[in-house]
Each structure stands twice: as structure tokens, then as C-alpha cells.
Amino acid sequence: MQSSNILSHILSYLTYQELLACSCLNKHFQALCNNTFLWRREALRIGIGNLELFGEPLLGIQNSQKSSSSSKWKELLRGLIESKKYWPTDHSVLEPSDTNNLVKEFLSILREPQMPPPTLRRESKCLPTIFQELLTYYLIDESPAALPSFDDFMTEDILAKLFDWSERLENEFKGSVEKNQFTIARWALKDPKFDSWTLSPFRLSIESTTDTYDQEDDLCQLSQKFPLKNSSPFLIKLYYAIKKTSSVHSKLILASILENEDDLSLCNDYITKWNSYCASIKELNQKYQAFCTLFNEIFNKTHEKTPNFPPFSLLRPMVFQWKRKVFETVKDKLINTALDLLNKWRSDQIDEELSYLLIKIVQALIDHSVNELNVRFLDHSQFYTDGIYEILHQKTVVATLEYYKTLKNLPADKLSEALEKDMNIIQRVFLKRTQIEIEKIRNEIEISAWKSCFCESYKEFKAGICCVNSNVTENLLDSEFGRILFNVDFNKNRIRQFIETLQWRNDKMVENIQHFLKLFERKVELQEKLIDDLIIEEENEQCGFMLEQSPEERILFSLTNDISPQQFMGIVINTDLL
């Protein structure tokens, strides 16, 4: 082994602090420390924690084959470490040691949240994901079950101290600019590129006077010129710190996810990390309850009318950061992989593991399509979302139509079998709305196939073999089946003879006719309101939740679309809610 290799190997046992010290020794050490593997490992160790949790060994990745540069990982690590500086250290509210503990615990929960036990990991279609469960508890008084605490830090106790200063913290929002900041922060308004700008009072003043603020160059300059002020209210600074820390963490997650060499591994990795992030949100929401409560209480006091909008919690800013930094980059891959897996499943080309991956991908896409209001209507056949699931739904329907076209030439009984099998897949993977839409298509195709089949058989029928009068015959004659044959031949007696012949021959055709009639009944059912839907609506109406959302609710509750402060303020002013 060459001396440089030995030195590199020795350096691999050091932490990033020691590597930075070594890189200052001389040029040789500087070059050796500039190793992608070292910085990648340190960034992932600090940001993601136990790599074994994500199926990546902590050891033995000395020679990274990745083409990424060390500076990228160094920057990601630096962002993570430096996110500490965004956390407010106001001696009169929190001691620096308290703030330090808040940061430590926040990062520690992001790195290694307490995952639910394997049996509760929502791995079946019938159970909601961690995220969906979190959302369902969001607007009602029940909190998710408390997680056992094993930590040394006590975020909850530290944040409870804020109540001692609530009067002072409330006074910080007396000015109108601060009030607007509060409003914006509360609804977690989303400005993907300019975090500090979002909270800058200058933004609001410029918005009201000119429409040119969307010019990126100007924004960049202004954003640098007017960052979050030191004098900003304490609660806003704390909110901003949470947002910023979630943002740098999400960037690191994205970098690690993009390292996967193929789309299947990428999707699998994404799902693992998204679940982990959801578990972090769940845990942090609990720990930051005091902060959120105070935030909401002061908001209600400083604003004359309290709109019935989503209460502030950590969920919103954290989900937005994930969405912008991670989800937006990989969403197309998730959709394409899901459709690809569906096609393979249909042609029996995948094993149980991959079919399970498809279910998990779809669940992850649903997560980014729901909010606190519509999550309760997930199993409703009219569930509508403006999120990514809508795209998946449309593409799945189109892909299904294409697939069914390829089946059209099959004999009716074979077609029926194939469609039955396909419906089982669809029901296992997709939401009720997609299931119903596909079932309608299937229904049309199958009914049409049976119609042709029956007409064909009838044409071949030679009358006058026997006469067996029975109720069955009369019923079939009066059914949709009989009507089809009347379209072919007006001779009712001959049709009756045909049906009797089929019975006498004990032909499988009778079974097929019964099946056809069931399909027809189902077709009528699908055109009306489903009983399951009525049950869901009734249950939710009792809690005050409606399937239909107002345009304002769609915007304010949306976890999927970015809303500019301008849009938001427009709604607030127009609806006269503030």
C-alpha cells in the first residue's frame, strides 16, 4: 500500500472536525482530506445517523464509485452544522444552553426518529401510512399516542418555559409588519427559493407597491440585503430555525437518495427515508407542542378574528421543505416506476417484493396528495386531490385503457378472467377513486364482450330441441340478457327456446349469463352513490368534515401546492377573515 493510501485509510477513522484540522496541516494532507468518501460518510453520519438502518453498511465503503465531488458533501455537512446558527439565542427567553439542547434534540430526532415497531409500519394497503395517521389527528383534539422518551434532552420542558414570557412574546407582534410575518409563518407560506426573504418585512411592503418582485435577480439582491432581522420576534426566529434545519436535512437526504444507481433502488430508498422523516415529524410535533400552542394562542390574541384555518404545527413547514428539496426532484421517477411496475405486474413479471414496492410507492404519492381535510375521505370514490396522486390516477387510467385494448381479442370468458385478476391488482394498490374508475371501464368492456358472445351463440342456435318452462327462463327473458337478444331477433319464443336449450344442456353459458347480469347490476350501482361513500360522509359530517372543500380551504390546507404570500393575503383580505 502506498503511503498516501495508508494515510487516507488512517484519515477514514477521523471525524469531520479532525479532517478539517488535518486539511490545514499541509498541501499533501489537504489533498488527502479532499476525499469524497470521507465527506460523504461524515455528512451521512451526522445527518442521517445509523446508516445500517437504511441498509448501507457503516464500514467498508472506502472506495466510493460515485462521481459526486467531495465539495458537495462538505457543503451539505457544513449546511447541517451551520443550521445551528439560525436558532435564536435570546438570553432573556432561553439560555444558550437551552437553545443548544433544542438544536441537538431536533437534529437527533431528524437523524434517528423512533420508528414504530415493524408490525405497525403501515405496510398493508388497509392501514394508513405514518404520515396519513399524523394528519388525521391534526384537526381534532386527539393527539397521536405518546412515544416513549429515551432522551437526555428535554425539549418539552425547555419550550414550556416560553409560557413565562408569553406576554413579552405577544408584545413583539404589536406592529403590523410583525403581525403579517406571524400570519405568513403561521400558514407556512411557501416561497421555495428565498427563505429569508419570505420573512422579511420588506417583501410585504414591496408586494403592495409593485408587481416586479418576482424578478429573481432583484429578489436575490434584496434577500441578501434584508435577511431575517435580529430584532425579529423570537417565535418567528424559532419557526425560521425549524424551517431552515428541516431544509438542510432534506437537501442531504436528496443527495443520498440520488446516489442510487437505478430507479427501483431510488424509490425504495426514498420510501424508507420518507417514513423515517414522517416519524421525525410525529415525534417533533409532540416535543414542540408547547411552542405550537403558544404560537396559536398569541396569534388568536393578536388577530381580531380567528379564521377556521389549520392551526400552526411543525408538520407544515417540515413537509414543505421535504416537498421542495426532495419530493419535487424524484416525483417523476416515482410515478414512472409505479407505472412500470404495474405493467410488469400485469404481465406477471414481478415477484412479491416488487409488487409490495409498488404499493409503497403509491402510498408515498398519496401522502403528498392529502391534507388534514381530505385525508378523511381517502376511501371515498369521489376523493379529489390537486396533488401528485391526481397525475398518477390519470396515467393509470390511460395505461389501463391501453392494457385492456390488448385484451379485447380474447374470448369473453378469458377476458373476464383477465379483468378479474387485474381488478384484484388495482384494488390492492390504488385508492377507491381509481378502483371505481377502472371498474367502470372494465364493466363496459366486459359487458360489451359478453353481449357479442351471447349474440354470436344465438345466431348459431338451431331452434326446437326441447321445451322446459321454468321461472329461470322467464327471469332471463325479462333481464338485460333477454333485451340484448331482442335486439337481434324479435321472436320471443325462439329466444325462450334458446334459453331453455342452454339450461337443458347444462351449458356453462348460463353461469356466464348470471355473471353478465351481475356486471350489469354493478354498472347501475356505479352510476349511483355508493353505500360505502355514504358511510364515510356520515362519519365525517359528525366531526364537521365535508368532502367538498371551498376554494379557500383548498389553498390554505394544501400541502401540495406552493402559494405565494400575495395569493395568501388575497384570500385573507377577500374573505375578511383577519
Partner: protein, 167 residues
């Protein structure tokens, strides 16, 4: 006829040091070295391996390691190491084994590298890394006689660029 199978002695491999001394080690222990393993597997009759780069003191030390881990796997040292004390990074036996002077550790590492004994090489590297742990730039430069090649303004710049290392 009575056979006492227990008395059948294991084949020994003779390791010839740089000075020409012969050190014997049981074949099952010697197989820890991928280098010796390939020699034995490549040439069936081989019972002596010449190691012209390794002196007999180091060979004895290597044999001690081979014998200890003949029937079990050496512990894996996690990266990065958590302490400058080896006993906090690995097993007590390993920590005691590698508790030697700097030159011995360097020789052992060179030998481990030559003999292709990855666990022993890692142990030596971790021991060396302990010497870097928690030390300031100036301390490291002084101890290892490292000349500062950076102009003073650049050095200040380096410090300036990495204030987060102290976080």
C-alpha cells in the same frame, strides 16, 4: 493397531524473516493472511514462506495476532473512532496488543499490508488515527515535523473557511 489421532500434529508453516530467522506458525492460524493462503493454495507442498521485508520481532507479533484470532473473527472498529484511547474503540485484547511504540505500529501495519491481513491493518490504522484525535493543527505539525506550506494569509483563510469545525 492403535491410532491416537489427537497426537497427529498440525502442519506448521515456517516464516523466514528479513534476518533469515525462521518463525513457525500453525497452518490454520497462518491462513488469516491472504498472502500466505494464496501461496499454500497455489503450491501444495509449500511449508516455508519467505518474508524479506519483515523482521523477526514483527513476525512474532503478527503470529501472536494470528494465533489469537485463529478460531474467531477480530472485532470491527467503527469509523470514525470515538476516542483517542484504543480500549474505547476496540476490544481490551486488541487495545493491549497494539499498545506499542510508534515504530512498531508502523512496522506492523506494513507487515499486515504485505501479508494482506485486513483486520490487523485496520487495527494499526485506528491506532495511528488515535494520535490525530483531538489535537490542534500546531500540535500535529510539531509532533510529526510537518512543515507549514501555506502562506500565512492563506492559513488564516483556511481557518476562516472552516469555523464550523469547532461546532
Amino acid at each position: 493397531m492403535f491410532y491416537n489421532f489427537n497426537k497427529i500434529e498440525e502442519v506448521k508453516i515456517r516464516l523466514r524473516s528479513a534476518e533469515g530467522h525462521i518463525c513457525e506458525v500453525e497452518e490454520s492460524a497462518a491462513l488469516m493472511s491472504s498472502f500466505i493462503r494464496s501461496m499454500i493454495e497455489g503450491f501444495n507442498e509449500v511449508t516455508e514462506v519467505s518474508l524479506p521485508n519483515i523482521n523477526s520481532v514483527v513476525i512474532e507479533k503478527v503470529i501472536e495476532y494470528m494465533r489469537h484470532y485463529k478460531d474467531k473473527d477480530p472485532p470491527i472498529i467503527k469509523k470514525p473512532i470515538i476516542s483517542s484511547k484504543m480500549e474505547e474503540n476496540t476490544s481490551a485484547w486488541d487495545a493491549g496488543f497494539i499498545d506499542a511504540d510508534w515504530n512498531m505500529v508502523v512496522d506492523l501495519m506494513t507487515a499486515a499490508d504485505y501479508l494482506m491481513m485486513i483486520p490487523l491493518r485496520d487495527l494499526c490504522c485506528a491506532k495511528m488515527a488515535c494520535k490525530f484525535k483531538g489535537r490542534s493543527i500546531d500540535e500535529l505539525r510539531a509532533e510529526y515535523h510537518i512543515e507549514n506550506e501555506f502562506p500565512s494569509e492563506m492559513e488564516e483563510n483556511l481557518e476562516f473557511q472552516h469555523p464550523w469545525r469547532l461546532e
